[in-house]
Symmetry: C2
Subunit: 474 residues, 2 copies
């Protein structure tokens, strides 16, 4: 009896594989720097902030998960260019290279280019600069990820239906003497939306153009959207994802890549609050795809992955041993980046002269950390003698300048000494530890839901994700 | 056409689920302290030591993987007792508790007890003490994991067919005045094998007893088998696993739990060499189960998981930025534990008086690290000024004693200051970072192969693993 069932099952499975169509709506969510611990920290903060049964992150609801290795052709620890190229094309290349092989002589077709040529509509979203390595790997081919202007020319030439998120860097070239990139995009048929007002007036279901490029008006010095914890008024990643879905939806099919790029930036700065905020915002964007999937379950595939791990984040710190309290992270009022800007402002205005009188009040205001306080909200945030010493040394280093030694790099990683030290102290009190200011070689998790999901089970390489997608969209 | 296939497929899947039998040979491999990075470090060291195509760890060949949360009833960061109880019974309990719920009033049946009562043969293996928390959770019920003698009484009373691995602690009770536990086991029908000679004479296919308890004669102060990198002459974990399979194999069914307990101990000590050695030995033991699976594919299920992560290990360290070279770990000649014993010996014999003349030569001999050397094998192992200073401070702390401050705990974690500092230096040069001397709250990976494997896909809790097993062996 059992054998008969298994044989019939096998026959049907095989025939289903031959006859069944692959997905025609493909979502590819890439959390830059997001691996096991980035998601888990977000999950833990959510759990610790609520009395209800632990709500699962959306990505944790996916039926299939796999572990994915991320190394570059030339290094265990990849950068985002090599990782993005692998995720887009299925081929390894060297760190720094966009959409070319490691000899720099062969163009690697991306999955987005393939489906564009098949007549699908393609959308590319990034919360950092749209010309940054990860999104660029889906539409550009350049020996160097730093060729920002050339990359944005290739954006305008891609023919893809939708771009959205952060701005480009150097819209007139690095020397400012080249054709304005927005003009060039318009010449190539793009409607370019650059203000929140225009964005709000834009109707993605009646867009008035075949191609659109939407730019967030609230960007930082790197042309990236602001951190979710800094509460920018312009659209967030979930909003632009919903707009893209409405814009791209059509009978023939679409492909949408969404990158959350500042999870990585926050983790470089060992800033759990920034990373968790952007991970939750990213997870909310995934919910938009899940809603679409529920309406089109047979034709939709959603893949969520990270391009590498950043920072060596762990839920566990030597100083707190077995204790942890992720909810303390919620005392941080904005990103470390925002605090750095505040310190810089204070220093410029001559307002940062005394450790006790000038610095400690703003540290308490921003991180909840205190030495003596009338308003302390949580005793766990009291600075220990060791922590106060570290903060004092950081204050001296920032105010008086510091030599660039191996030791100062280990302590501050090139960041504002006060800002990173205060962040470290709060993170450590919450039980979170970090090992580096760079990427790590730790595998990431890949999550899959929908038509073709079963291919994403097991342990495989980042190039395999693209290979599976190429096989599925044939 | 497609709809017809899907409907037929669904009907068959459902009927298969009702009619198909579950597995009757179940392997449960538990790497104590083993999560993503422990396995990955082992994988990377294997890759970097060979010119051939990267050989995959056996666990990475499993078709299904899931992510598993590990928290205890009373803490994000679990201990091995609560985790072992969850993995064995499907219920959360508090840290420190074995096989009881958190009120201590309800006995939680383990999967091993369930199948034992169904008439299967049951085997329990651990590389640490067989009375340690993880193996104990499969046969004992005690409010405290420290009740070693009571736990070993329950071992003798379990009726399980096979125990093997490390020894028990306090075989005559903590005060030495209780019935000898080996005698008690013999009274309960166990053949007790305590020497390597007797082990080699033992034929598991013609054992001459219904129940056997095999003890490794090479154990450390905690009654655990020695680290794989310390090359003990007695049997290793793969060998005892093969012996167990031969002993347990029978038509009715068997359940075998194998714990690699010293991955955890090595990670507490931030000793990558020790962790990697025991992870590879554990992975070799998994190959024995895979061979059995290939001979009995329809009836066999293998599940591999970790009980929690330890140490916050990451492949990425601030001081080496994007560089890493895991192959440097291979320069370490034994476990950190063995080096600690060596230092202790030197100190006792008055041979540890000079940093330059006494310590540096043994550090070079054991770790390859050097300040000046005629025989240096690798320039990457040259001590930097910062590293030399750290080692010198550790030498002073060990020779002259050190105050137990927050700072000294962060540096040394209660371990031998020299041994842990030298280990940290070698690990960091290899690009490996650590965040704690305790466990962490990071999820682990669960791998499954065989009958029922599909249940282990996705993101779930450690209690779910036991629940799936209870459902499968019904």
């Amino acid at each position: 009896m059992k054998k008969v069932f298994f044989t019939l099952l096998l026959v049907l499975l095989v025939s289903t594989m031959f006859f069944a169509q692959g997905p025609k709506y493909v979502f590819y969510f890439i959390g830059d720097g997001m691996a096991v611990t980035q998601s888990n920290a977000a999950q833990l903060l959510q759990s610790s902030l609520t009395d209800a049964e632990t709500p699962k992150l959306n990505m944790y609801k996916f039926p299939v998960q796999g572990m994915t290795t991320t190394h570059a052709a030339n290094a265990f620890i990849t950068d985002s260019a090599a990782a993005g190229t692998a995720l887009a094309s299925g081929y390894k290349t060297n760190s720094g290279v966009i959409g070319l092989d490691s000899t720099l002589s062969n163009v690697l077709e991306s999955i987005s280019e393939r489906v564009h040529n098949m007549g699908w509509k393609v959308g590319i979203i990034s919360t950092v600069s749209i010309g940054h390595a990860t999104p660029a790997a889906f539409y550009a081919h350049q020996p160097s990820r730093s060729s920002y202007y050339e990359i944005s020319r290739q954006l305008a030439e891609s023919g893809f239906a939708f771009f959205g998120g952060g701005d480009v860097r150097y819209p007139n070239g690095k020397k400012g003497n080249q054709e304005n990139i927005y003009d060039y995009a318009r010449e190539n048929g793009y409607q370019v939306i650059q203000t929140q007002e225009d964005y709000e007036a834009f109707d993605p279901k009646n867009p008035g153009s075949e191609k659109v490029w939407i730019i967030n008006e609230d960007v930082d010095g790197g042309s990236a959207m602001l951190y979710s914890v800094d509460n920018a008024p312009a659209f967030d990643v979930e909003d632009i994802t919903r707009t893209a879905i409405d814009y791209l939806d059509n009978e023939k099919g679409f492909f949408l890549m969404v990158e959350a790029g500042k999870i990585d930036w926050a983790c470089h700065a060992n800033d759990a609050a920034g990373s968790i905020g952007d991970t939750i915002a990213f997870d909310n964007a995934i919910s938009a795809a899940m809603e679409f999937y529920r309406e089109n379950p047979e034709d939709t595939l959603i893949v969520v992955t990270g391009d590498h791990q950043t920072g060596g984040l762990t839920i566990g710190f030597a100083g707190t041993k077995y204790a942890s309290d992720p909810s303390l992270i919620a005392y941080q009022n904005g990103s470390q980046d925002a605090f750095t800007a505040k310190l810089s402002n204070m220093k410029d205005n001559g307002e940062l002269n005394s450790f006790e009188d000038d610095l400690l009040p703003v540290v308490e205001e921003f991180f909840g950390l205190y030495k003596t306080s009338a308003n302390a909200e949580n005793e766990a945030l009291l600075l220990s003698a060791l922590e106060e010493n570290k903060l004092r040394a950081a204050f001296e280093a920032y105010v008086n300048g510091t030599e660039n030694t191996d030791e100062s790099y280990l302590l501050y990683g090139g960041y504002n000494p006060i800002a990173i030290t205060a962040t470290h102290i709060l993170n450590n009190k919450a039980g979170l530890g970090w090992t580096t200011y760079s990427h790590t070689g730790v595998p990431v998790v890949t999550y899959a839901m929908g038509n073709g999901q079963e291919m994403f089970s097991g342990y495989y390489d980042n190039t395999d994700i693209a290979k599976y997608l190429f096989a599925l969209v044939k």
